[in-house]
Amino acid sequence: MPPSATRHSDPLVHTGKGDANAIVARGLTRRFGALTAVDGIDLTVARAQVYGFLGPNGSGKSTTIRMLCGLLLPSAGQIEVLGYRIPEQAEALKRRIGYMTQKFSLYEDLTVAENLEFVAAVHDVERARARRRIDALCATYWLQDLRGQLAGTLSGGQKQRLALAAAVLHEPELLLLDEPTSAVDPQSRRDFWEALFALVDAGTTILVSTHYMDEAERCHRLAILEHGRLVADGTPRELEHALPGTVLLIDCANPRAAQTALAAVPGIAAMAQIGASLRVLGTDAADPREAIRARLGAVGIDARIETVQPNLEDVFVSVTRERQGHAST
C-alpha cells in the first residue's frame, strides 16, 4: 500500500481493527546528531490496558511516544500502531489517537469551553455529537463550573483534567499520555488514574509515561527505560518476582552509620534509608545477609535483618544499576 493512500480508513490499509495488540514496535531507534535518544526498543502493547513507561528524565520516554504517534521520524525500526504503519500512515492514525503532551498544550487565552469546541472541530467531531461529548466530559472531569474560565487561570489539576478531556473528546482507541501527572497534587493524581481506568474499561488502550513508582505500580504492564534502552518489561508483579537479588530491611538505631559501614561489603547492589531502617538490595549472586551481619557486628551496630518483598523501586534500581555496570566495564 503506497503511503499516499492514508487519508481514510481504507480496509486494506487499516487491518489492525481485530489485532490483539495496539502497538508493535521493533528495533525503534532515534538519533539526534551524536546522541542516541532511543536505542533499539522492542515494544508490544495489548489493547484495553494501561501500559507504562517508567524512566528518569532523558531516558527516551517522550521521544518514543512522539515516534509512536508519528510526530518524529524514527532513525531506524518498524512501528505499527492500531494496524497502521508509522510514519507512512501517520495521518490516518491521528484520527484514532489522543495525545496529551507533557507541557499543557491547549490555549491559555481561550476558555475551557472554547478550547474543547476548538478541539472538537479540528478532530471533525460532528457538531451535535461535539456538544454532547463536551457536556459529558465537563461533567466527568469536574469542569462544569469552569467552562467560562480562561485555561491559563486554571490550577495544575484542572489544566490536566481539561487536557485529558481534550485528548479523549473524539473517543480515540489509543491514548498516549506523556508524563500527565508531573505538575499535579497527589489527590488529583489519584482522580486522574481513576479516570484512566474508566477509559480502559470502555476499551481504550493507554500508554502513559511516568517517573513515579506508585503510578508505575498501577499499570497493567510496564517498560523500564534508561538511556534510550528498554531494560525490563512485564507486569509489575512479574518484574518484582524476576528480581535476581534479595531485598533486606535492616532495622537499627542509626541507619546512616550502618549505611556507611556497609559501603564496602560485597554483594550489595544498592542501599537506601527508609525512615528508621535501611533497605538493602543484594546483587544477583549470594545472599549478602551473613556478610552484612558480620560487618555490622564488627563495628558494633545492633541490627535486626529481615527479608522483604521486592517492590518496583527495587526493580528499577536493580535494572538501571546493571546497565551502569555494563557501561563501566
Partner: protein, 370 residues
C-alpha cells in the same frame, strides 16, 4: 482541506486576538501614529528620471535644448513621442516621471521671451506630481535660464521653462507620503504579526498537540493568516479616511482598484510573514526577522528615497520587495488615477512574489517535530 477546521482556526485566532490587548492596540495605533509622524515632507536630489520628449518644433534649436537637458543627467529621455496623448498615457502608467514638451512655435516663443514681447513659455515640462522628489528636481532645473543651458552667453533672463505639475498641483508633501504610508504600515504589521502568530503556536507548545490531530499545515497557516487579511483592509481604510480628513489626500483612481491592490499586497506581506515563520524558532526571532526585511523595504521601495536616485544595484534589489511594487500601485491609483491595467507589471511582480514565498514556506512546513 475542511472548511469547518479552517473556520475553527480562524475563530480561535480572532478570540485570541480579542484578548490580546497590546496587539489589538497596535493594529489601530500604528497606522494613526505613523500617519501623523510621516505626514511631513522628505526631500532628496534626483538623477536619471525616466522621461519622454515630445518635440513638435523639430528645429536645430529644439534638438539643442533636448541635448542640453539630457546632459544635466536629471532626465533619461527614453521615449520620443508624437502626440500629447502619448505623454498622458506614459505618465499615467508610471513609465515616465516627466515629459519635455517643445511647442511647434518654439523658436518664436523663445524670441518673444528674449525680447520681452510675449509671456508664453517656450518649453514645457510635464511632471508626475505624485512624486514629491521628482517635482522638486524639475523645479530646480527649470530655474536655470534656457540660455545658460544652451551656453549662449546671455544669462540674464527670467525662467523660461513652464512646469505643468500633474496630479499634485499644490505640491503638498502629505499627498505623496500618505499613500506610501499604507505600504509601510501594512508591511510593518502584516509581516510581523503573521510571523509571530505562527511561531507563537510552536513556542507555546500548542503545535505539538495540533500536529497530533487531523489538522493540515495548509489549514493551520491559512486559518492563522486569514484574520490578518481583514485587519490589513481595516488599516487601509483607516489610513485612507485619516489621510482624507487630515491631509486631504485624494483618491483619484477607483476605490475598487485601491482595495484590490492593497489586498494583493497584504497577501504578499502575509506570504513573507509565513515564510519568515518557518525560519524563526521563537517569537523574538520572528520579530527580528520581520524587522530585518522591513528596513530595506522602507528605505529602497521609493517611500523615503526616490527610486530613480538609487544606484543600479539597489534598484535591482528593490525590485524584489513587495513594497516597491505596492508604492507604484498605490501612488498610481490614488494620485494619478491610474487603473490596475495601467500598472499590471507591479501587480504581476507581487503575484510572483506570493507564489515564490508560499511555495518555499509550504515546502518547508512538515507536520512533524523534527
Amino acid at each position: 482541506m475542511k472548511p469547518r477546521r479552517l473556520f475553527a482556526i480562524v475563530l480561535k485566532e480572532l478570540r485570541q486576538l480579542r484578548r490580546d490587548k497590546l496587539t489589538f492596540a497596535m493594529i489601530v495605533g500604528i497606522p494613526i501614529m505613523q500617519l501623523l509622524l510621516f505626514g511631513y515632507a522628505i526631500n532628496m536630489d534626483v538623477r536619471h528620471l525616466s522621461a519622454a520628449v515630445l518635440d513638435q518644433a523639430r528645429t536645430a534649436q529644439s534638438r539643442a535644448v533636448i541635448t542640453a537637458l539630457a546632459h544635466t543627467d536629471v532626465f533619461d529621455f527614453n521615449y520620443r513621442l508624437r502626440t500629447p496623448q502619448d505623454v498622458d498615457a506614459l505618465l499615467r502608467a508610471g513609465e515616465i516621471s516627466a515629459a519635455l514638451v517643445i511647442p511647434p512655435d518654439f523658436e518664436r516663443r523663445l524670441i518673444e521671451t528674449n525680447t520681452n514681447t510675449g509671456d508664453r513659455a517656450p518649453l514645457q515640462i510635464v511632471v508626475d506630481g505624485s512624486d514629491q522628489v521628482v517635482q522638486q528636481a524639475v523645479r530646480q532645473l527649470a530655474a536655470v535660464p534656457l540660455d545658460a543651458l544652451l551656453g549662449s552667453g546671455n544669462a540674464a533672463h527670467r525662467a523660461n521653462v513652464e512646469i505643468v505639475n500633474f496630479y499634485n498641483p499644490g505640491r503638498r508633501a502629505p499627498v505623496n507620503t500618505v499613500p506610501g504610508l499604507i505600504g509601510v504600515i501594512l508591511t510593518m504589521t502584516m509581516v510581523m504579526f503573521t510571523a509571530m502568530a505562527i511561531v507563537r503556536e510552536r513556542e507555546r507548545g500548542n503545535l505539538e498537540f495540533l500536529i497530533a490531530t487531523p489538522v493540515s499545515p495548509t489549514e493551520l497557516t491559512l486559518g492563522k493568516v486569514l484574520p490578518f487579511v481583514g485587519i490589513g483592509l481595516i488599516q487601509v481604510t483607516l489610513v485612507l479616511l485619516l489621510g482624507l480628513a487630515i491631509f486631504s489626500v485624494p483618491i483619484r483612481g477607483s476605490l475598487f482598484d485601491v482595495y484590490a491592490a492593497s489586498l494583493v499586497f497584504i497577501i504578499a506581506s502575509l506570504a513573507l510573514g509565513v515564510f519568515l515563520s518557518t525560519l524563526a524558532k521563537s517569537q523574538f526571532q520572528a520579530m527580528q526577522l520581520a524587522f530585518f526585511t522591513f528596513l530595506p523595504q522602507i528605505l529602497l521601495s521609493g517611500f523615503i528615497f526616490p527610486f530613480a536616485g538609487m544606484p543600479q544595484a539597489a534598484q535591482w534589489l528593490a525590485e524584489i520587495f513587495p513594497m516597491t511594487h505596492f508604492m507604484r500601485l498605490i501612488r498610481g491609483i490614488l494620485l494619478r488615477g491610474a487603473t490596475l491595467a495601467d500598472l499590471w507589471p507591479a501587480l504581476a511582480a507581487l503575484g510572483a512574489f506570493i507564489v515564490v514565498m508560499l511555495g518555499i514556506a509550504i515546502a518547508r512546513t512538515r507536520k512533524r517535530l523534527d
